[in-house]
Structures are given as C-alpha cells and as structure tokens.
Amino acid sequence: MTTVTMGKALNLALHDSLERDDRVLIFGEDVGKLGGVFRVTDGLQDEFGQRRVFDTPLAEATIAAAALGLAMKGFRPVAEMQFDAFSYPSFQQVTSNIAKYHTRTLGAVNMQLVIRIPYGGNIGAIEQHSESPETYYAHTAGLKVVTPATPADAYAMLCAAIADPDPVIFLEPKARYWMRQDVDLPMAPAELHRARVAREGADATIVAYGPTVQTALAAAETAQGEGISLEVIDLRSLSPLDMDTIAASVRKTKRAVVVHEAPVFMGMGAEIAARLMHDLFDVLAAPVERVGNATVPYPPSRVEKLFLPDADRILEAVDRTREY
C-alpha cells in the first residue's frame, strides 16, 4: 500500500505499460525532459530513452496523425495533448481518420492508441486551459472515451486503455492530479466501460465523472449530515455509457442528478437524462436534474467557481428532485 496522487498513478501506469510492452511509445509536447507540464511523464524519457518517450513539434493534428501511423506500424502510441482546448487542432484527424480507420480498412488495421487529454477547470488558469471537451469526443462513433476520478482508477484505466485495441480518448481531470489515495500497485487493468458505485445511498443518485466525482461525494457527505442518503455513480466511461449501472441505481433511488463541468446544453447530462427518463419513465419520482456550466465560454478564473458545480449546487438540484 502506497499513497499516490492521481498524477503519480498515471505516471506509474505509463511506466508499467512501457515496461510491459516494448511497443508502447509516449510522445507529445514537453513530455520528454520536462516530464509534461503536469509531470505525468516525469522520468520516463530518462528510463526508457528518447526513442520511446519523445517530444514533438508543436502540432497537435500531426501528433494525432503520427499516432495513427505508428499504430498501423504495430506500435501502441500514447499521445499527449497538453490541455483540453489544444486537442482541437487534431479534431479532423481524430474524427475523420482515427475514429474511422478500422472501418475503412474493413477491420484489418487496429487503432490501438491512446490520446491523453488533461481537461476541466477549477485550477485558476487563463483562457483555453479549463475546457471540458467530452461531448465532442463522445458524440464521435468509433472512439472510446473514458475518464478516471481516483488515483486507483487512473492507474488501472490507463493500463486498460493502452492495452485496448481501439482508439481511446483518455480524459484526465487536471484539478484532481494532486488528489491522493492509498493504492496497492501494480493493479490489474480495469474493465474500461464499467461504471462504479462510488458511494451507496437510497434517496437520490448523483451521476458524476472525472473532476465532479469528488464534488459529488462531498455533497453526499454533507447531505448525510442532513439525513439524506445519496448514491454517487462514477461513470468512468463516457462512450459508451454503462447505462445498466446507472439505471440500477436510479431504479432504487428514483431520483437522479447528473453533474459535469461542461455546459449543460448538449453535455453528457443530456444523454444520460434522456436515457434515464426514457428507460425509467414510470420509475422516476422526479425529473432528472442537470448541473453544469451555463451556455457561455469558460469564464475567467476569478469567477469560475460560480459557474462550476459545487456541493451547494448539487444539493439544490437534489432538493429539487426530492421536493418535486
């Protein structure tokens, strides 16, 4: 048992994957000597050399495209996009090629690659460093989109993503890089698309993922003090969604709140709410509530907290479902 931060857990997952499989490569901007702006690749170039861990020119489209070419050559590239908004230059390569190459080659070529993207806000950053781009990727068929909420999952899911033969968009909740947890490493790779009941409860279900899981748990803790028992689901996988696990919870609690940092409009909450209200139309005691950003560009950092989901906003939404 050791205590690791999420950043360190990701670092160890990369390390162990490099060690386990000599086809694994890591590249991106500043992942070499610097070890990444968040130090997630710290020490890896030193240990595995510049042929397996290397910096690239500043060109995200070609970082993604090179991952495609290297995957085709039988490598297992793990490419880093430095921040959420800086994955957008690769959008065409990801959407039109990476997501479609397996289809286009009638299954002959696997896109066994991972694109790691630190995402989300709440770190007091300047513009373009706090976006939540999951809708863009989740809506793109042919990708798998996952995001861990804990150090243990960060490790197990990243190992699983690297071992998976399909292209995985691996969203890392950057505000949680410093979150700590006691873990027994190495762990077995996770099942990639299985949601997790992060806390059991009876009165309502909070569906969260990535950075908002901890927020949801804090809200549940507060609620507990008020005699309200909240179940918290950590989605882990955004595409596909594990609707079975979510629905099982909501079948029990009859109330649900979906929480994310992305704007509510066309966010993951839309899909989850639509599915829940469709599939559990007669079960639900109240409409599914959604908590997320307003329909605005990510706000300046001095006011960001007012736009981000916090325990209060989550509990207000819970109240709305309970008082319905």
């Binding site: 060109a59 495209a65 085709m72 090629n97 009638l106 033969p165 990639l192």
Partner: protein, 368 residues
C-alpha cells in the same frame, strides 16, 4: 540512430543536389542520369504496359459510372506516369500512402480493381488489407494522409527497418496545415518519407496560381531536405527520381519532396463540370504530352517499342477492365450489420446490443 528517432548527421546540401542534378530545367532526366540509372528496356516496357492497362481501367471506371454502376468516379488520366512510375519505383517492401486519386498505384500494388470500385459503388468504405499490399487506404479528407505516412515512417525508423514510405497527394493538398506539419515532422524525425505531389494544376476548379504561393518543390529547402520538380508526364523521369529518393530514405538519408507536374485531363470527378472553369484550349497542350505517347517515344528511341507490346497491353487492359466490371457489378451489398462489426476491434457491449436491436428491427420490417 543512437538516441532519438532518426539522425540528422549528414545534412543535405550536397545530396539535395544529387536529386536535383538528375533533372534538366524541364524536370526531365538528363542523359547522364538516365545512363547512371540504368533502367532497362524491359523495365521501361513494364512501365508502358502498366500505364496502358491503368488508362483502360480509368476509362472503364468512367463508363461504369456513366452507366449508373458507380456513384462516383475520379478519373486519373494524365496521372499515369506519376502514379505508375512512382508505384513501381518503390521496393515491394516499401509502403505507399495514397490519396483518393491514386488508383493506378493500387493496381500496380496488385490490389483487385473490382474490389476498389466497391468503394465508389457505395458497398464499403474500403476494400483491401493494407498489410497485404503495403498500401494504406484511400483518404478523402485532403492532405490528412500525409502525416499518417510520416508517423508510419517514424515507426519504420524505430524498428530499424530499411523501408521507405511514399505518400501521394495533389497540389491542392499542399495548402493544408497537415501537409506542412508532416513536412516538418519528417524533417525533425528524419523519417524515411518520399512526398509525391501529383501537381495536376487543378483542385476541382481552383487553378494552381490561386492555390499555391511560390513553387511547391522549392518549399522543401525550408525544411532542410531536397525537393525537385519532375516532368510528371515522363514515366522514366518519375520512376528514376522516385527510386532515388526512396533509396536515399531507405539508407537513412531522410525525406525528399517530389513535385510531379502534369495535368488533370478529365473532370475532377464525374460530378464535376470543367466547362465552367476551363476551356479545351487549356487542356490541348497537355494532350501533346500524353504520358503513354511519351513513353512510347522513349521506347522507340531505345528501339524497344513494338506493336506487340502495345497490342498485348491493350488486350490485357481490356481483359482486366472486363474482369473489374464483372467483379464490381456482381459484388453483393453487404449486410448492414457489418457496419457495426467494423467499428471496433474490441466492441463494447453497448454496441453489440445496439447491433442486435438494429438487426432485429430490420428482420421485423422484412417480415412485415
């Protein structure tokens, strides 16, 4: 290649000249370079033969489209020398990353043309296994295959293979950001790539001068590797210069850019109407530079042309065209369930369920 991918030890100035020096001011192989290259009469006849066959297949593609058998056809007439010359110049162990118009390259790589036409018939989004032919799929989003080739070539270098990678694209593609990023990556990682620009002077209706600032071949120097403009209607020149560029790359001497100047003799695709933007007089000079005629002249000059060659090639073209027609017109429409099967190597349960529901719904409708 001790530390990083590729080395850039031997910088390129004199080698640049080794490619450039092979061509005269018109981009045609100099007599001296021709001698040094030692392309045999047999090889030149083979280039001729494949060009004749490929032209015939192009014609058949056009016919099939006009007869409603294909949704679309993108004729490559005018590109035969560039495509056949380049494809045959690459070693069988080399890889080719084509663009959507590189049909003749696919044929040279032994890919079944009838199968390819399935794509233009709307049966599937691809037809061949890239690993079998060392030939990547056709890519429609312009320019995006160029960095794929570079990534793949980086992998060849990492594996210490003596493999070079050819990537085909039009002059329109040089306007995309992806082209530039790929050129720069290739230089920085010293990747064994041959960039082949098939400059047919048109991107649909946009002429070269509204597309390209400066001269494409000149741009390579800015990336620190050689670039040349070759006469893209002369198959011997294309073949020889691409072979040399591929040899260089295979020897670890880095990338090169070859701009093969030719002309798009036909509409962009069968959906296009070139009368709106160019006249027959624009096209006419290029009819005089027909790649097949020019190759025949070269053969005659070597006393290596005979009517049998032409006749046999024409016959083979007819036969292959007929076989292609048969193959595509008799190809079954795949079961729509296949669409689900091809998305992932390891499909998630959710998609398997979706497929099951989809197929069940289809069957219910079928019953009703």
């Amino acid at each position: 290649m001790a530390d990083a991918i590729g080395t850039r030890a031997g910088r390129e100035t004199e080698r640049q000249h080794s490619l450039a020096a092979m061509l005269d001011e018109n981009g045609v192989l100099t007599a001296e370079a021709e001698r040094a290259a030692g392309v045999s009469n047999e090889q030149l006849r083979e280039l001729y033969r494949m060009m004749v066959i490929c032209r015939r297949l192009d014609q058949e593609g056009l016919n099939l489209q006009r007869q409603g058998e294909l949704g679309l056809w993108g004729p490559y007439a005018g590109h035969e020398a560039a495509q056949v010359g380049a494809a045959l110049a690459m070693a069988p162990t080399d890889w080719i990353f084509p663009y959507y118009r590189d049909f003749a390259m696919a044929v040279c790589r032994g890919i079944d043309p009838g199968g390819i036409l399935g794509v233009f018939r709307g049966l599937a989004h691809g037809s061949w296994n890239p690993y079998e032919h060392r030939f990547a799929p056709f890519i429609i989003p312009v320019g995006t295959q160029i960095p794929h080739a570079v990534g793949f070539a980086m992998g060849c270098a990492l594996d210490n293979e003596e493999t070079s990678v050819l990537v085909g694209f039009g002059e329109g593609a040089t306007s995309t950001g992806d082209w530039h990023e790929a050129m720069n990556f290739a230089s920085v990682f010293h990747a064994p790539v041959v960039f082949l620009c098939e400059n047919n002077q048109w991107a649909i209706s946009v002429p070269m001068r509204q597309q390209v600032g400066g001269r494409i071949a000149d741009r390579a120097a800015g990336y620190g590797f050689p670039g040349v403009r070759v006469d893209g209607t002369d198959v011997l020149s294309v073949y020889t210069i691409v072979r040399e560029a591929a040899n260089r790359a295979r020897r670890g001497e880095g990338p090169a850019l070859i701009e093969a100047l030719s002309y798009r003799m036909q509409p962009h695709t069968t959906s296009d109407d070139p009368t709106r933007y160019r006249t027959d007089a624009d096209v006419e000079p290029w009819r005089q530079r027909d790649p097949i005629t020019r190759c025949a002249e070269r053969l005659r000059a070597r006393d290596a042309y005979d009517d049998d060659l032409a006749r046999a090639a024409t016959e083979e073209g007819d036969e292959r065209a007929a076989a292609m027609r048969r193959a595509v017109t008799s190809a079954p429409v795949p079961h729509p369930g296949v669409v689900f099967d091809l998305v992932y190597a390891n499909p998630p349960e959710a998609l398997l369920r979706e497929k099951a529901e989809f197929v069940a719904a289809l069957e219910t409708e079928g019953d009703a």
